[in-house]
């Protein structure tokens, strides 16, 4: 059993994502999977979990090896709030039960990566603010937050991580580029072994704007 690189992807599935945005996200994720599958190190170590959040938060796919991963159907409700805080709470629970730490008898995983995608802002802002310190205790090697579309708010995301990016449009070209970049970041995560805990992110594509 080789060491795993756990990758958590949190996807906003609130009503505003219905239609083209969510379809584009799916296309983007599929492209990311296929790109990662062509990288031998990723193929041998990357494990992916997808958590979706709207009014409900759910583990769409628990931590699954890349080779076995199949993207399930993503259902988006007509409307409703965006429970980003609850999603992060669920994330912490999942990390605690899925990510393996080293013990004398067991090989530990690599430090996990987190990618969060939203097109709005947390509706459960209190929960969100409280859970941030818990997320930080989970030792993610990197947390990348992406605010997609005109209505996405970056301020709450900046509390979670200093790696905040925006996408101007929510079409398939933008998401494809974004997930391609996610896949590059995962590959770098795969190689950053040892001395430093911070992953140096690859330069984002033009469609992805850096928020300073």
């Amino acid at each position: 059993m080789s060491r795993r690189l756990p990758v958590y992807i949190l996807i906003d599935t609130s009503g505003s994502m219905k239609g083209e945005p969510i379809e584009s996200v799916k296309v983007g994720i599929e492209a990311m999977l296929s790109s990662l599958r062509s990288e031998p190190y990723a193929l041998e170590s990357v494990n992916i979990s997808i958590i979706t959040y709207d009014r409900e938060v759910k583990v769409l796919m628990p931590l699954t090896p890349l080779e076995d991963f199949q993207l399930p159907t993503i259902v988006v409700p007509e409307s409703g709030p965006t429970h980003t805080g609850a999603a992060l709470e669920l994330l912490c629970k999942q990390v605690d039960s899925e990510v393996r730490l080293s013990t004398p008898e067991r090989k530990g995983d690599w430090m996990p990566l987190l990618f969060l995608l939203t097109d709005g802002k947390p509706s459960d802002i209190q929960v969100y603010n409280q859970v941030i310190s818990e997320v930080k205790k989970r030792h993610f090697a990197t947390i990348v937050a992406c605010a997609a579309g005109m209505h996405a708010k970056t301020d709450p995301l900046k509390q979670l991580t200093d790696q905040v990016f925006t996408l101007d449009t929510m079409d398939s070209a933008s998401f494809r580029k974004f997930f391609q970049w996610v896949s590059n970041t995962i590959e770098i995560g795969n190689k950053s072994i040892g001395a430093t805990n911070d992953i140096e992110l690859p330069p984002p594509p033009d469609e992805v704007n850096v928020i300073v």
Partner: protein, 464 residues
């Protein structure tokens, strides 16, 4: 159209009086259309019900891998489906076989090409008759490439800073004395696949020596951290500075004479006073050697535009030993991961010369370049070891590129059967006989072994 006379009579006699042929035909058309619509709706509803049931069945197909036997099986309930088959699976290199007795289906074969494939489960539902459309359910699976075929081997550009060759090996031959074969050292270091794939340099390093005059062996291996930019220089500076320091120590005849005398007395009497004295020597010898390694890196970092030392992060495993009449004296220093161990096959004896430094997550370890290694006295002493040992099969030093795939966990490092397995594994390909300098190339070749997910640089030094 000529209406059948009997029908005409029948109709005329009963309901339709004095109707023309055209009227009857019109009536029948009207009637049939209505019935057909009702019939069509009913059978469509039935098909939808069955389709929903089939779509809801927990049928899934796992992903496959190129060149690897694929197998999946499922069955459809025979109260819903008369006949079914898979379409478009040939493109994946798979074949479906339906067993009519239990309505089960086997999908198998060996996929030939990687990619994402969509295929269809087509079926004739219960009540289907010729002319009706088949129903279907779509599935998508991924065929993964065989990771072995994806690794590239790009040579490291020779014009980079601190270039070092992608692989290296060596042999220290010690001639027999008084007809007694003497232990030799074989060593090899190979760039890991993860580095080769990117054309990045090897970060591991080693240095081994035998000092003819004093009869001491010195061995050092170091693993530069993959994520640290100049770690290849860190590992070579650590090995060189540490070994040079030991050589210097052993060049001082008086010092060596005293040291060896203490060893002899300690062996004979084993008292604490001599143990303490020897501890001081070990501190001076391997402890200071490690510190010299640290200093060498510090100096280099300063002269290199004053970059942080952590860019040179490296582990260090260092061992000095000598054979006496009463056995071997072995001293060592260890910081970081990897393994360093005395192994005797016959006695089924192992002795780890320290403990590997690990963290909660993979790849977390400690490095020589961390100042706390030297400032925390208690833990520093813990890294120094010395002991007197009976003759042994081998003394092995290796980086985690070898120890990780071979031992997997720290607990396994303490199991003699794991060392048996490692030694046997090596012996199959490497002829560890006295004075066999060829074995260095065999060892280098052995280092290329395949282990999924373990593609770090690999270095091993064996005194045997």
């Amino acid at each position: 159209m000529e209406l059948n006379k009997e029908i005409k009579d029948l109709l005329s006699n009963n309901i339709l009086i004095n109707c023309s042929d055209e009227e009857v035909i019109d009536f029948l058309t009207w009637r049939i259309k209505k019935d057909w619509q009702e019939y069509d709706k009913e059978r469509m509803d039935k098909a939808v019900v069955i389709k929903n049931k089939i779509d809801a069945l927990p049928i899934s197909f796992p992903n496959g891998t190129v060149g690897k036997e694929y197998h999946a099986s499922f069955s459809l309930p025979d109260d819903l489906v008369e006949d079914y088959w898979l379409e478009d699976v040939e493109a994946i290199g798979l074949k479906d076989e339906v067993n009519p007795t239990d309505n089960s289906c086997n999908l198998s074969g060996v996929p030939t090409e990687a990619g994402s494939y969509t295929f269809r489960l087509c079926y004739k539902y219960k009540g289907w008759v010729r002319g009706m459309a088949n129903l279907e359910r779509k599935f998508t699976i991924a065929i993964n490439p065989d990771p072995k075929t994806l690794w590239k081997n790009i040579p490291t550009p020779t014009d980079i800073e601190y270039y070092q060759p992608d692989s290296e090996c060596g042999y220290v031959k010690v001639e027999s004395k008084n007809g007694q074969p003497q232990k030799d050292i074989v060593v090899a270091s190979q760039r890991g696949r993860s580095h080769a794939h990117e054309g990045n340099p090897r970060d591991d390093h080693y240095r081994v020596e035998y000092l003819e005059q004093s009869g001491w062996y010195i061995m050092a291996v170091a693993d530069g951290a993959g994520s640290a930019k100049y770690s290849r220089k860190g590992s070579s500076l650590a090995c060189d500075a540490a070994v040079d320091h030991c050589k210097q120590f052993f060049a001082d005849e008086k010092k060596v004479k005293d040291f060896e005398e203490y060893i002899t007395v300690y062996n004979a009497e084993g008292n604490d006073e001599y143990k303490k004295l020897l501890g001081d020597y070990i501190y001076q010898l391997v402890g200071n050697a490690a510190f010299k390694g640290y200093k060498a890196i510090e100096t280099e970092a300063k002269s290199h535009e004053n970059v942080p030392m952590k860019l040179y992060s490296t582990t260090l495993l260092l061992s000095v030993c000598k054979k006496f009449d009463f056995g071997w004296f072995v001293g060592s220093f260890w910081v970081g991961d990897g393994a360093m161990c005395i192994y005797d096959k016959e006695r089924q004896y192992i002795k780890l010369l320290g403990t590997p430094d690990g963290g909660e997550f993979a790849g977390q370890t400690r490095f020589l370049t961390m100042p706390e290694i030297f400032t925390d006295q208690a833990s520093f002493y813990g890294r120094l070891r010395f002991s007197i040992e009976q003759d042994f099969t081998a003394l092995m030093l290796m980086t985690d590129g070898v120890s990780d795939p071979m031992f997997e966990t720290d607990a396994n490092l303490n199991k003699v059967e794991m060392w048996d397995a490692l030694y046997e594994n090596i012996s199959k390909e490497v002829e560890l006989s006295d004075d066999n300098a060829e074995s260095q190339y065999q060892l280098l070749k052995w280092l290329d072994f395949w282990s999924q997910g373990n593609h770090d640089d690999r270095t091993i030094a064996i005194l045997y």
